[in-house]
């Protein structure tokens, strides 16, 4: 992005450059990539019995990356937590509904046993990652940080 922040002479006062944050979005996307690759590996072999080794490895990787992301988020100073949670709640609800529909389709297609467990875990990671990405992107540009909030 080009460096902005300078208004026209005599015009309204310029807005400050948005503050820089740790790479929460990029870390979240890395976790999402693990989940999406896992789903593709599984879906490419359905309705048979897909090999579970690689998807389980990807679940572990996605979960570790997600945990790191949450830890980085929790340590942020002067972050609009109220805005983050506001968006996270609604985004979480929306993506729970979408993940629920996908789960319904898998169960409807007679996916059972360990295959269903692995797919469910992948969906759970998906529906945790997306609201974090949505909520962080909104909250990072929030200039009002309530007193007493980190």
């Amino acid at each position: 992005m080009s460096g902005h922040g300078h208004g026209a002479p005599g015009g309204p006062p310029p807005f400050p450059e948005p503050r820089s944050f740790p790479r929460i979005t990029e870390i979240g996307i890395l976790s999402m990539i693990c989940v999406i690759v896992g789903v593709i590996v599984m879906a490419a072999k359905l309705p048979g019995a897909p090999p579970l080794g690689l998807p389980i490895g990807l679940i572990v990787a996605a979960a570790v990356i997600l945990t790191i992301n949450i830890a980085v988020l929790a340590r942020l100073q002067d972050f609009a937590c109220y805005r983050f949670w506001q968006v996270f709640r609604w985004g979480g609800l929306a993506y729970l509904i979408i993940a629920g529909m996908i789960e319904y389709a898998f169960i409807y297609d007679n996916t059972r046993g360990s295959t269903l467990v692995v797919l469910t875990l992948l969906l759970a990671l998906f529906s945790a990652n997306v609201p974090i990405l949505l909520a962080f992107t909104v909250a990072r540009f929030e200039t009002r940080v309530r007193a007493g909030e980190r």
Partner: protein
Amino acid sequence: MTAIGHGRPGGPPGGGAPVGPPPGFARPEFSIVPKLGLPFVAAVLIGLITVIAGDWLWGLTWFHVVGGASWTVIDLFVGFIVGPIIGRMSVPARIEFSTRFMPKMLLLMPTVVTMTLASGFQLARHLGYLDPSYPRHAWIVASMIVVGVMATVALGYLEPANIAVLFELKKEKPNGLVIDRLMKRFIYTSGITGLAQVATLIIMTRIAS
């Protein structure tokens, strides 16, 4: 690719970036989630569950074709037609357009994507395309990979930018710099998904022919 202009048309090249709406500019009132659209979204989702539960081949095909065509056309249109136009608009026009356009996209795109993917997966299962012995199974896997790329771009960058723009526009004094930056991200990622849609068109026509 799309070119998002900096500043007003005729302004200094590369400089004079929009930092906010001019004094006296009244931002139109708007709702981040257009409530009037929610019944339509609910109707689409109920219809989708009904055709999946009923294994209704025509219904699955309808949802997949209508959803897929809408998704492709909207991505291409926004990325390559609307994007460059927005880039050349004045700041007030850009803000007014965004307040009317972005809330609709917030409901429209996830709905269109859900109806395309859910019906497409069921259709592939119903027709035996998911079976690895299907001669064009590789094309099916290729379509999954393209969808995976689009999902990563859309969920990681495009949709968060869409929502963040709406929250910024809701503020008493929206930061034009933030809006400009987020709209750029929205338009660029729309262009990327538009290119991926071209790949989808190639794959889908290959499977169907």
